[in-house]
């Protein structure tokens, strides 16, 4: 089988529609009789919700209905737990508090933005309430006497997890050097350009509910929401059309808006549309990162790490429906590409009066990498070693795979690295950035000119392509064109092209003749969703398996039709032919028609058509890895940082479409740079988010981004037939760690120690002036 498309820079099938405004996004859906929803959201982070009076709103012309929890009656209940707690880890404490559809009068509101009522048509209004002290400080939240988010729990502790590899205490006793620091990572948002949006339509005569949603998990949404609404899964269809960016938060299911809209459309028997505005997105769409780490590393004098102890607090916001995915990722990614023989890691998860924390590109990995890379730099300084050298010294060697890391991760099984060559990524990045020349020649020369230039090098691993599974169905149609359907959704990853490439190679058709459908539960209803950089590997391998299975059927039928043995057949340009005798051929179109006869009889046991549905579930997640290097120049007067060069040496195994992979890396880098220097959510002590707009929460612009140079390496994964690994989150994970290292290096004469991210010009100013 020839690979004409896989591995090639194929331009995307979906682009002409997206470029000409002919692609459907949720807000483009327009149905006759459609109403509009608006949510009354709490202005208070933590307050008793005394009562709500909807009379004035109900009387306003144009308002069809206003619903509060009173109207919901017995239907009101906390939502489903989306990710279970990791019961494979011993002695886990997990206090489940899932998201509620609406705050209840008589109870409390627990974060700014929590819905209190839904209006169908226009008007908003305010409920009366009294202010109670808000909990925003992670450590204060755990102190006795702190205001409680969930009174009945008696504590703000949402969860406690401890894992141990080896024996840290013993390692500490043998070490020459102990490094102890507190490291802080703070909050940011995903800020996809398209806000969340839904159109729901209940058709009473057909007893069916259709929902267009900006979701990364259409199948999970359908299953969970249909159960919540008391209808059968088969009565509900979720369609994720083109979605304007996901980045994590859109993986959520049974969010208040989804539950309330589903319930309301059934009650009113009218279609309803809700499109979030940008402020709602900042307040009521999930977000990520706050953690406080107290880390201790013990090393030998020559820079070998003997052990690591990391105790951290993780902020989950007001509820924890996504359980422990993010902090578990932090635990597993702290070790990174290094051999850490003894590792003690524990975390406490805290409820606070802020919006819920669930994965955002990186999903807990950036925090772990930030901690480890800062430790490396601190150790290098302490021991007088070169930062690149100390990393190389501690890396897992290329012949040590599969490598067991002994800590349980987000898929509840012990972490194993399938394949990788970490020293090679380090060497490549070092060469690409010209590390030695910079450090020995350029930097001293520029410094002599008074410039503050610095270099940073950071290494990371990236757990990708976790299970459980995905599926795909490939069908050759009587036109000779091929249809591919899979359950994952698409938010810009290019599935309409990359999956088509896989099918096109297997079936010998033009990549433009493969029509891909993603994210429609009526067409495919088994699967979990797009998250954790798993689309191309997990869904892609299911696609590959389905296409391979159809190829087998094609050859079997063609062999009979052409009277030639299967081994002698090849498929080229939609024709199955005997190699060397191209005239002896039959078209796929003809075969497809023959495989689905309109009349006549078939052999008992025959399956119709040239179609196959296959599933793929990996044994565990494939580990991608890389090294990032950057050169920055800092202006100590304006505190502006210019990234002069950005280099990433990345290994994601087999690459299906390099054009798409490059794009994913660029995008991840831009989010990483945002989270290094431009983006930070600012809360006041009352839990009010002070920068809930793009005017005050800064996303990197074209003038802020460096030119990203990518170097590819390939250690194929041993966990799937295609050998691929994920890449979606790569750029976001190591960037803050590298940025901080480079800035510290640029300001070496100020002898800074920066143990936090994100930074900003203001913060740098504070560092420089010792405030």
């Amino acid at each position: 089988m020839t690979t004409k498309y896989v591995g090639q820079r194929v331009t995307r099938n979906e682009d002409p529609r997206l470029l000409t405004g002919q692609a459907l996004f949720v807000d483009d859906v327009d149905l006759p009789g459609m109403l509009h929803a608006a949510f009354l959201r709490s202005d208070y982070a933590h307050a008793r919700f005394k009562s709500i009076d909807a009379t004035a709103a109900r009387n306003r012309p144009g308002v069809v209905a206003v619903y509060t929890t009173e109207d919901m009656g017995a239907f009101w209940k906390p939502g489903p737990l989306l990710v279970p707690a990791p019961h494979s880890i011993k002695d886990v404490i997990f206090n489940q508090r899932t998201q509620i559809p609406m705050a209840r009068a008589g109870d409390k509101v627990r974060h700014v933005g929590e819905p209190m009522a839904v209006v169908i048509a226009e008007s908003r209004y305010i409920a009366e309430d009294a202010l109670v002290d808000a909990v925003v400080d992670l450590e204060k939240a755990l102190e006795p006497g702190a205001p409680l988010i969930h009174d009945e729990l008696g504590t703000n502790l949402a969860s406690y997890v401890r894992q141990e590899k080896g024996n840290y205490v013993q390692a500490r006793a043998q070490a020459d050097v102990v490094i102890q620091r507190r490291i802080v990572v703070d909050r940011g948002v995903a800020a996809a350009l398209e806000n969340r949006g839904y159109v729901v339509q209940w058709n009473a005569k057909e007893q069916e509910l259709t929902m267009w949603a900006t979701t990364q998990a259409p199948i999970a949404l359908r299953n969970l929401l249909s159960a919540t609404l008391g209808i059968s899964e088969n009565q509900m269809r979720v369609i994720a059309p083109f979605v304007g960016g996901g980045f994590g938060p859109k993986i959520m299911a049974c969010q208040p808006e989804e539950v309330l809209l589903g319930w309301a459309t059934m009650k009113l028997n009218r279609p309803i549309k809700y499109i979030e505005d940008r402020r709602d997105n900042f307040l009521a769409t999930t977000m990520e990162r706050s953690q406080i780490h107290d880390v201790e590393a013990v090393l030998t004098r020559d820079g070998r790490i003997l052990g690591l102890k990391d105790v951290f607090i993780h902020d989950t916001g007001a509820y924890n429906p996504y359980a422990l995915t993010v902090p578990l990722n932090t635990q597993t990614h702290t070790m990174g590409p290094y051999e850490i023989p003894n590792f003690h890691t524990e975390f406490k998860v805290v409820f606070t009066n802020r919006m819920i924390v669930t994965p955002v590109r990186g999903a807990g990995r950036p925090q772990g990498v930030f901690v480890m890379e800062r430790v490396m730099d601190l150790a290098a300084k302490e021991l007088g070693l070169d930062p690149v050298e100390i990393r190389r010294k501690n890396m897992i060697p290329a012949d040590a795979f599969p490598h067991e890391q002994g800590i349980i991760g987000q898929d509840f099984i012990p972490l194993v690295y399938d394949s990788g060559n970490y020293p090679a990524t380090l060497e490549k990045a070092k060469a690409m950035i010209g590390y030695d020349t910079f450090v020995k020649e350029e930097q001293p020369r520029l410094r002599a000119e008074g410039k503050h230039v610095g270099i940073g090098v950071a290494c990371f691993t990236e757990g990708t392509a976790v299970g459980p599974y995905e599926g795909a169905r490939v069908t050759v149609e009587s036109s000779g064109k091929v249809s591919l359907v899979t359950g994952v959704g698409t938010q810009g990853q290019g599935h309409f092209t990359s999956f088509a490439q896989i099918v096109a190679d297997q079936l010998g058709v033009d990549v433009r003749d493969v029509r891909v459908v993603t994210g429609d539960t009526a067409q495919f209803h088994w699967g979990t969703g797009t998250f954790a950089s798993r689309g191309i590997t997990v869904a892609g391998n299911a696609v590959n398996a389905a296409a391979a299975s159809v190829r087998t059927k094609i050859l079997k039928h063609a062999s009979k039709a052409l009277g030639a043995p299967e081994e002698e057949l090849e498929i080229v340009n939609g024709q199955v032919r005997v190699a060397d005798i191209p005239e002896k051929s039959i078209s796929l179109s003809e075969l497809a028609a023959r495989a689905n006869p309109m009349r006549g009889s078939v052999e008992p046991g025959t399956e119709p058509g040239l179609e196959s549905t296959q599933y793929f579930g990996p044994k565990y997640g494939a580990t991608a890895a890389g090294t990032v290097a950057m050169i920055v120049e800092v202006d100590p007067e304006t505190m502006m940082v210019e990234i002069k060069r950005y280099v990433i040496a990345h290994d994601c195994g087999t690459v299906i479409n390099p054009l798409i992979v490059d794009g994913q890396v660029h995008g991840g880098v831009s989010m990483g740079i945002g989270q290094s220097f431009y983006e930070k959510l600012i809360y006041d002590e009352n839990g009010q988010l002070l920068n809930a707009s793009f005017a005050d929460y800064l996303l990197p612009r074209s003038t802020d981004m460096p030119h990203v140079e990518i170097g590819h390496l390939c250690t194929p994964s041993t966990l799937n037939p295609m050998g691929s690994k994920g890449v979606g989150e790569a750029g976001a994970i190591p960037t803050p760690a590298c940025f901080v290292q480079a800035v510290e290096n640029a300001l070496a004469d100020y002898k800074l120690e920066i143990l936090e991210t994100p930074l900003s010009p203001n913060r740098l100013f504070e560092f420089l002036h010792g405030t």
């Binding site: 820079r9 331009t11 995307r12 979906e14 682009d15 002409p16 529609r17 997206l18 470029l19 000409t20 405004g21 002919q22 692609a23 459907l24 996004f25 807000d27 483009d28 327009d30 012309p61 995903a190 800020a191 996809a192 350009l193 398209e194 806000n195 083109f242 979605v243 304007g244 960016g245 980045f247 499109i275 505005d277 940008r278 938010q491 810009g492 990853q493 290019g494 054009l659 798409i660 490059d662 794009g663 994913q664 660029h666 995008g667 991840g668 880098v669 831009s670 989010m671 707009s693 793009f694 005017a695 996303l699 990197p700 612009r701 074209s702 003038t703 981004m705 030119h707 990203v708 750029g731």
Partner: protein, 160 residues
């Protein structure tokens, strides 16, 4: 009942006569009154540039304008740039350079670039990045967009 105003707007060469509330945003008018959903809404406060359309040839944030302000004017949206079968060279360049991923911000970028390339057929990388600084993209990191603009300027050639 809020007062309604009659307006006449020419969009992509087609004349529309509609009656609208004074507070209806131009972007909502284009999307929902006229059904031209290629222009998207990203922030509704004029920062992200996703809603950019051309008003009498100049790029404007249609989320910061009212439909009544467009009365008697000409608007050009992404639907007026090219079709699936006949892409504008700029659209072709975007496709070749993989300058779009989710595609949500893309129409805004295209409409910002159309007048830019009219004025400057041979822009430098720095000029391109400056020109794009008013449009946010969360997916691409801008690099491929910059390459697409360079490619487009080659395709479109020097102004006659």
């Amino acid at each position: 009942m809020t007062k309604q105003f009659p307006i006449t707007v020419t969009v992509n060469g087609v004349r529309y006569e509609k009656t609208v509330e004074p507070r209806m945003l131009l972007v909502d008018f284009i999307r929902h009154e006229l059904g031209l959903t290629g222009t998207h809404v990203g922030c509704e406060h004029g920062v992200c540039g996703t809603c950019t359309v051309l008003l009498d040839g100049e790029p404007v944030r249609s989320c910061l304008m009212f439909a009544v302000q467009a009365n008697g004017h000409e608007v050009r949206t992404v639907e007026g740039l090219g079709t699936i079968d006949k892409l504008h060279p700029l659209q072709e360049a975007f496709r070749e350079a993989h300058a779009l991923q989710c595609g949500f911000c893309t129409p805004g970028f295209l409409m910002t670039l159309v007048p830019f390339l009219e004025e400057n057929r041979t822009p430098s990388e720095e000029e391109i990045r400056e020109a794009l600084a008013g449009n946010l993209c969360r997916c691409t990191g801008y690099q491929h967009i910059v390459e697409a603009v360079k490619l487009a300027s080659q395709k479109m050639g020097v102004k006659p």
